[in-house]
């Protein structure tokens, strides 16, 4: 029934349509705006769920691929020999899904819906808020689905602008600075990404199609073309001769490294990798909680996704040569984030540093270049997305009641708001990697993968889970245990609209902790082809 629908396009465009509808609604009707926004976050969520139900790992996402030419610019072909009939610059509208992006799509669906529900805390300018919110979603879905470099870049940029305003308008006191910092850092990242993409398109985005009158040459950003050109030894980019030099098609090692390092920086800022992390602390502390849910829950994972999709899949040799570097960076992230989280006095900063620590585990998983580790990296991303969304949801609820997130001013909340405190404790336990909750599986798989190749480095990284216990317990017990300050007596526990996303996220965290196969089976064939390929390339 649904088979003929362009599901992926619907997922991407539904929020955009929602944004337009929100813009058309009268701004005084806050409830209409709210409901419209929730509906239009639900639509892509339901579609991703449907994808999930229908997805067959062995087949991959081939059935859903949407591919059409989006922009085609004819270029002068006379510089080539006579057999070339046309030369075109072609940018594709190419959406596809596979075992790597599907878990992240699901995460996006869940977290965005919960964030839309949590947006009840937003108190001003709903219309602008919801339209930006929905625009942001379009960007995120697009990033996870796009398979054309230019399209990917555009969607990536689309996420920046709404985020800038969401932080800058609805944030706390330091919001403008945080927003500027966000924009500048990510702008730098985008610049690096663009440069790298241009190198890739110029050298690898080259394909020849035999036409009626001769050969049609196409230049474009098609990911599949680039990937196959890279791994094909006969492709122009890999042939070192006069012809390829003349047209600048040859991709030498130095350029490869440049492109790889640029990608690493571009996505490393997003992840964030130490020392590019300070912008993210500001965003965590200054942005409104529902926006941080999206930011910490999904946007950071765009960095992970980019690292895997571009840096790793395109440049496995370079990554392989640098596994040591990345593993060490990962360990630094883990320990640096964890130790700093232990001494923060502001709960949001504890969570921000803990995010840095958790993303270090993802890096370890990627550096392993083992199927276990890679799946662990994705798993950890999804799990951290859910956990940090849950924790920031609770931060929002606590702030609404107490007007503070300073640890020194909070205490004993278990007495007045037992439900919120209980869920907070659950989230904290998940964050410190308690088995039975999702955090453990991701950490365990990542460590397991990495342990195969680098035992000592990983063992040092494992120390991070000890510090995780310290900072989680220190901060959460400080908030919920102890005696209740007088001014917080008689607070109301969570309303239904707050409890609903909390329960949903908590249930998913438990589900993923108890039954991880639900995600790992999806990813089953996501990496195997790649790994076989690099093993033959490395082995040869």
């Amino acid at each position: 029934m649904l088979d003929d629908l362009p599901v992926l396009s619907l997922i991407v465009l539904a929020p955009l349509l929602g944004a337009l509808i929100v813009l058309a609604l009268p701004s005084a009707r806050s409830n209409w705006l709210r409901i419209t926004a929730i509906i239009f976050t639900l639509i892509p969520f339901i579609l991703t769920l449907w994808l999930f139900a229908d997805y067959q790992p062995a087949v991959g996402g081939g059935a859903y691929t949407e591919h059409s030419t989006w922009l085609s610019i004819p270029l002068n072909q006379e510089q080539f020999n006579a057999s070339v009939t046309s030369l075109k610059l072609v940018f594709d509208y190419h959406l596809a899904v596979d075992g790597i992006s599907l878990p992240l799509l699901l995460l996006t669906g869940v977290v965005s819906t919960m964030s839309a529900l949590a947006s009840v805390h937003i108190r001003k300018r709903w219309k602008t808020y919801y339209s930006l919110f929905l625009l942001l979603l379009t960007g995120i879905y697009g990033v996870f689905l796009a398979r054309d470099l230019v399209l990917f870049f555009i969607f990536f940029e689309v996420t920046l602008i709404p985020m800038f305003f969401l932080i800058g308008i609805w944030g706390y006191y330091g919001r403008e600075k945080a927003a500027t910092r966000f924009l500048i850092y990510n702008g730098l990242g985008s610049a690096a990404m663009l440069l790298s993409f241009l190198i890739l398109i110029a050298t690898l985005g080259f394909s020849a199609v035999e036409g009626a009158g001769g050969v049609n040459l196409l230049f474009g950003g098609n990911y599949d073309t680039i990937l196959s050109n890279l791994s094909n030894p006969a492709a122009y980019a890999n042939v070192d001769n006069d012809l390829t030099h003349q047209f600048g098609l040859y991709l030498n090692d130095q350029t490869k490294w440049t492109a790889f390092v640029l990608l690493l920086i571009a996505f490393g800022i997003k992840v964030p990798i130490f020392p590019f992390h300070t912008w993210m602390l500001r965003v965590h502390t200054e942005a409104p909680p529902p926006v941080v849910m999206i930011h910490s829950g999904i946007l950071l994972k765009m960095g992970v996704y980019g690292l895997i999709r571009f840096a790793m899949f395109l440049f496995p040799e370079q990554l392989h040569a640098w596994t040591g570097v990345i593993a060490v960076l990962g360990v630094i992230n883990i320990l640096y984030g964890a130790i700093l989280a232990c001494v923060q006095t502001e709960f949001k900063l504890v969570l921000a540093y803990s995010s840095i620590s958790h993303m270090g585990i993802v890096l370890l998983g990627i550096a392993s270049l083992e199927e276990v580790g890679l799946q662990g990296a994705i798993y950890q991303s999804v799990s951290h997305g859910l956990i940090s969304a849950l924790l920031f949801l609770i931060v929002g609820s606590i702030y609404e009641r107490t007007n503070t997130t300073q640890l020194s001013e909070l205490g004993g909340l278990a007495r007045s708001v037992p439900f919120i405190s209980g869920v907070l404790l659950l989230g904290g336990l998940a964050s410190l990697g308690l088995p039975g909750l999702s955090g453990f599986v991701g950490e365990f798989l990542s460590f397991l993968g990495m342990f195969g190749s680098m035992k000592i480095v990983t063992a040092i990284g494992v120390l991070g889970i000890l510090f995780a216990a310290v900072y989680v317990l220190r901060s959460i017990l400080n908030i919920t245990y102890g005696s209740l300050p007088e001014q917080y007596v008689g607070m109301k526990d969570a309303r239904f609209i707050e409890a609903l996303p909390m329960i949903t996220l908590a249930a998913l965290i438990i589900l993923l902790g108890v039954y991880p196969s639900i995600l790992t089976d999806l990813m089953q064939h996501g990496f195997s082809g790649f790994l076989e390929q690099i093993h033959t390339r490395m082995g040869g």
């Binding site: 199927e371 276990v372 278990a414 397991l448 889970i465 245990y481 102890g482």
Partner: protein, 623 residues
Amino acid sequence: MDNTFFAEYAWLVPLFPFIAFAVLTAMGKGLKKTGAWIGTIASFLSLVLSLCIAGERLSGNAPDYGNQMDWITIGKLKLVAGFEVTNLSTLMLVVVTLVAFLVNLYSQGYMKKDERISTFFAYVALFTSSMLGLVLSDNLLTFYIFWELVGVCSFLLVGFWYQKPEAKAAAKKAFIVTRIGDLGLLIGLLLLFWYMPGHALDFTTLHNVYDTQSGAISTGITTLIALLIFVGAVGKSGQFPLHVWLPDAMEGPTPISALIHAATMVAAGVFLVVRTFDIFEASQVAMNTVAIVGAFTAIFAATIGLAQNDIKRILAYSTVSQLGYMMLALGVGSVTGAMFHLFTHAFFKALLFLGAGSVIHSVHTQDIREMGGLGRKMKITAWTFGLGSLALSGIPPFSGFWSKDAILTAALDKQPILFVVAVIAAFFTALYMARLFFLVFAGKPREGQHAKESSSVMTIPLIVLAVLATVSGFVETPFNGWLGHWLFPEGAEHDASGLVMVVSAAVGLLGLYIGWLTFVKGTIRRNAISDRAPGLVTLVARKYYIDELYHVLFVRPLQGLGKVLDLFDDYVIDGVVRLTGHGASALGRLNSRLQGGQVQTYALTALISIVILVVAIAGRRFW
């Protein structure tokens, strides 16, 4: 009837309490008294099923039963979750469910007035379920998962009275200190995963690898793995140097101390070593480490126990000390001795804690100096507590005597020095138990204390446990090695040694006698030692300043490091960021000054630029 009829349903044993936990959590506070019964009934069902399984296996010829499912499949790797019913796990099942049921029953009375009683029973149910899962696990990964879960339940229950700052601190400490051990276990597990043939983590394969394919894993790695696993056991079982959390954990409700911190969870460390004993046996270094740590902990904790005044803390140090005995037994190769002591200790220590709870419930203090003469007012408590004390002190024919005897015999056989240490520890054990018992139950009643016997729901568990503490030793005596044969059919024989029996009984009796002389008769003055060596007494009373030492050695430096890194983050890393920002805007200001609207400045700039350009182009020729 099939020999594995009940064993096939062993997965139900942990499921009952888990259902109780789920129901209690979902229903919330509304349940109150009903909630308590839900928990109790669930643990009763588990007990019944465990007894059925035990009955089925008592004959000794029932085959082991196991069942696995794939938990995570990644490529060719499979992570498996599974359970396994062997005689060893059956023994543990019975111990855990029995103590859990009795504690549930007891808590009906003890926690009656607490407003969060259903939460309490929910946590207890979750703990019971996890502990049973741990016992049934057939591989190290599943074991680790439940291992962490029992840890978190312990944390939740220690911090049950969350408004007390001490409870909060103790809960945090319990979790973090045991996590250090868990870290060791996790790294050991990861190592094992990569070194085991076929990445198998189940105990059967482990056994086979070390039994038949000796050399599959090199000795160095084996030692490393064994030591890492032992770190896990040290953390959980409160062995030196990670023992510090266990006495603090007494901030939790007393039934919890009996269930978790005496009978079951803390023994999980011993159980872990037993399950992975093949690895330990393959490495003499690891065995010696286990033995020495165990013996040292036994005597170390026993001395601290002598100088404490909190009834629960004395028992806590006693637990640490007895767990040291079990480790010692393992280190000298006597798995049977360790399991046997675990078995008897579970009963008499749970009995002692529940008895202490009954006392605390009645007099509302934990300081033994404020108690006295309770024997007349609380007859059942006093009698059962006395039986427990005798068992713990190793007086024949109570259970503790037989199990301690097994350990001492093995120690004498392998490491005579450790035997001496253990004997001295046994003397201290008897001494501090005598002190505890006589100070609490003998002497004159305090004025103004209206102690009265606890309700029957609390005394019945005491009586049951007292009976078990008395008779459970007869399953394995020097004259009858039934337990050892049942648990480990191929295992070692229990050597009888008349000397050990005499020595062990004598030091026990001597300890009790000196205690009686000091605290009842007054022949020996109570402060005979503290007058002569006040420093020594303070040292022991302050637990050898281990907590303070850790604070200075680990907590402070870490805090300092955190602060330094915080400054580093703020000033260096963020400083560079700010510097870049300021640099860019300074450059901007400089440029905007050039754009002053003065045509002549523009022209000058243009001129200078052209000159530079010309010089650069011309200059290129020369190099």
